[in-house]
């Protein structure tokens, strides 16, 4: 293993985050804070209790997931897309680095950033709503798993994209709607039976449900199923990345 190369890519990506703190950290924390203020405090006080939890506390896991998913994808996709766009990728591809080491560097950095962001949002939420964490270890595991899985997805998008527009399409047009419809702001038990069934095809439901279980101890779907689906999605991403490096798709003609 070329650990020095992994460390070089990791440090480089983290330094990029440090240069763009406002955009990569402050901005998502601010927008999530606004969600807490508007949905949690203002509107939430009129909604009352869902599954035995105050509405403000109920949406905390969903909002953290919303930020983590979009930021994991954005960070990882930009991290690999920009060197492709600027041409500096030549250096990585001509260095004595394996595909695994490249992925570890880029995805590791993107996942770290998302974890920092998730933690910041968790701490910020405390100022607005009173929440409990019933299963802290499971919560931390879900955070790490989600940050890693969606950073892998972001890495794939960053290689697939051939323009900045495509880079934005998946987070905005796919992930954001799936997250909003994945039980971020409501329990799927509140939906009519037909839509409850439809919702089960949304992978984000399993993430939000499992993550919420770690906070409240109640979930829309079994926590084991949530974990299994997340791991399955991660496996899909890993297989896709393996194929990318094997074929040289959009990296090596």
């Amino acid at each position: 293993m070329n650990w020095r190369a992994v460390a070089a890519i990791y440090r480089f990506e983290m330094a990029r985050t440090a240069r763009t703190l406002l955009q990569s950290v402050a901005s998502p924390v601010l927008s999530t804070t606004l969600y807490f203020v508007v949905f949690g405090t203002a509107i939430g006080s009129r909604i009352g209790v869902i599954d035995g939890v105050e509405y403000g506390a109920f949406i905390v896991p969903g909002l953290i997931m919303l930020s983590m998913l979009t930021e994991s994808i954005s960070n990882a996709s930009f991290g690999i897309y920009f060197p492709r766009f600027s041409g500096t990728i030549y250096e990585v591809l001509s260095a004595p680095i394996s595909a695994l080491e490249i992925v570890l560097g880029y995805v590791g950095a993107a996942a770290t950033k998302s974890l920092i962001l998730g933690t910041l949002i968790l701490v910020t939420a405390r100022f607005f709503v009173d929440y409990q964490i019933a299963h802290p270890v499971v919560m931390a595991s879900f955070l790490i798993l989600t940050a890693t899985t969606f950073s892998l997805l972001g890495f794939i998008i960053g290689i697939w994209a051939d323009g900045f527009e495509k880079l934005q399409i998946v987070p905005l047009m796919v992930v954001m709607p799936l997250t909003f419809l994945g039980g971020t702001f409501y329990s799927i038990s509140m939906l009519p039976p037909f839509w409850q069934t439809v919702t089960l095809f949304n992978p984000v439901v399993y993430l939000v449900s499992g993550f919420r279980w770690s906070f409240t101890g109640t979930a829309d779907v079994a926590v084991g199923l949530s974990l299994g689906m997340t791991l399955f999605f991660m496996l899909l991403c890993l297989v896709t990345i393996y194929w990318i490096f094997r074929t040289g798709y959009r990296l090596k003609p």
Binding site: N2, R4, A5, A7, A8, I9, R11, F12, A15, R16, R19, S86, G87, T88, Y90, E91, V92, L93, S94, A95, P96, I97, S98, G248, K252, P253
Partner: protein, 320 residues
């Protein structure tokens, strides 16, 4: 006492060996066809060819940026695909395009390059590289603040950060002013003196003429010719004798109109082309004939074909 006689070139081991290399892109375009090439350790090898000839594809394939369709490449004895770590660790690449991370500092980007190649941090080496390339004073500057020439030197610094034994320079002086170009030539000679094998592609024939030990000409994805620069010029070079006449001629006398002699448009010059390698160049009989026809000249000079002329001739022959 060490033997002062250097080994003959063919006895020097190939540090890069390309065997039957081919590359056909998905579009069907065949960029390289059965390329065989040996680069000898410690030499400066210039790869010449017109646009689209396959120069960059060849370099990119050796460096691992393009996947070959067939054939094999060894770098210092290591297969660039099977033993990619060992092979790539020995190679530094300076691509044609100025591709840099605009917001990164000079020092950090060079340190990043060293890390990518798995080398331990070595501030002294990075300082030496930056000083050698006159970039030390700019080490804390962001890359976007650098001039084009500085960026070009920075690309070289990045490629040298991991102490490669083989350095590929793809059009190293494209768009660089004359003074900087000469500085770069000096730097490349210095690298070679330090034991680095240099392979460069260039459009500037004078660059190859000035620096290369050997020259390879590639055209339509095939290596047309590989030879020592001097041998190449000797073999293919023609000389030209120009005689500045005392009085203009309207036409060549019939006896002199052999094809080797031409009259300039203004009638003031006679131009005679001959093969410098031939024992009998024909100059002495020509001068006698001129005297016999009463043609006086006031000055004369000779000129050797440039590598550019040779190159154009080779490419034309290759297309014919």
């Amino acid at each position: 006492m060490p033997d002062p006689t250097p080994p003959p070139r063919h006895a020097v081991p190939a540090i890069i060996r390309v065997e039957g290399l081919s590359k056909t892109y998905d579009s069907g375009f065949s960029a390289l066809q059965d390329v065989h090439l040996d680069i000898e350790e410690g030499e400066i090898f210039a790869l010449l060819g017109p646009n689209g000839a396959g120069k960059t594809t060849l370099i990119s394939t050796i460096c691992g940026l393009v996947r070959p369709t067939g054939g094999r490449i060894l770098a210092d004895g290591y297969d660039v695909q099977r033993d990619f770590r060992a092979a790539r660790a020995r190679i530094g690449l300076v691509p044609q395009e100025l591709t840099t991370d605009a917001f990164e500092t000079v020092y950090n980007t060079v340190r990043f390059s060293r890390g990518l190649f798995g080398k331990a941090r070595n501030d002294a080496h990075i300082e030496k590289v930056l000083r050698d390339l006159s970039l030390w004073d700019k080490r804390r500057s962001r890359i976007l603040e650098l001039s084009g020439g500085m960026k070009r030197r920075l690309m070289i610094a990045k490629a040298l950060s991991h102490e490669p034994r083989i350095l590929f320079l793809d059009e190293p002086t494209a768009g660089v002013d004359v003074e900087l170009r000469r500085d770069m030539w000096e730097m490349v000679r210095g690298l070679r003196a330090g034991g680095v094998t240099i392979i460069l592609t260039t459009h500037y024939i004078e660059e190859a003429e000035e620096m290369a030990d050997r020259i390879g000409v590639i055209n339509d994805g095939r290596i047309v010719l590989v030879d020592e620069k001097r041998a190449l010029m000797r073999k293919l070079g023609q000389k030209e004798l120009r005689l500045h006449l005392q009085a203009p001629l309207t036409a060549l006398p019939e006896a002199l109109d052999s094809g080797a002699l031409a009259l300039s448009e203004d009638g003031m010059e006679l131009i005679y082309r001959f093969d410098a390698q031939q024992e009998h160049t024909g100059i002495a009989p020509l001068l006698r004939q001129l005297d016999a026809h009463g043609i006086d000249f006031k000055d004369l000079h000779t000129r050797e074909s440039s590598l550019e002329e040779i190159f154009v001739q080779l490419v034309r022959e290759g297309r014919a």
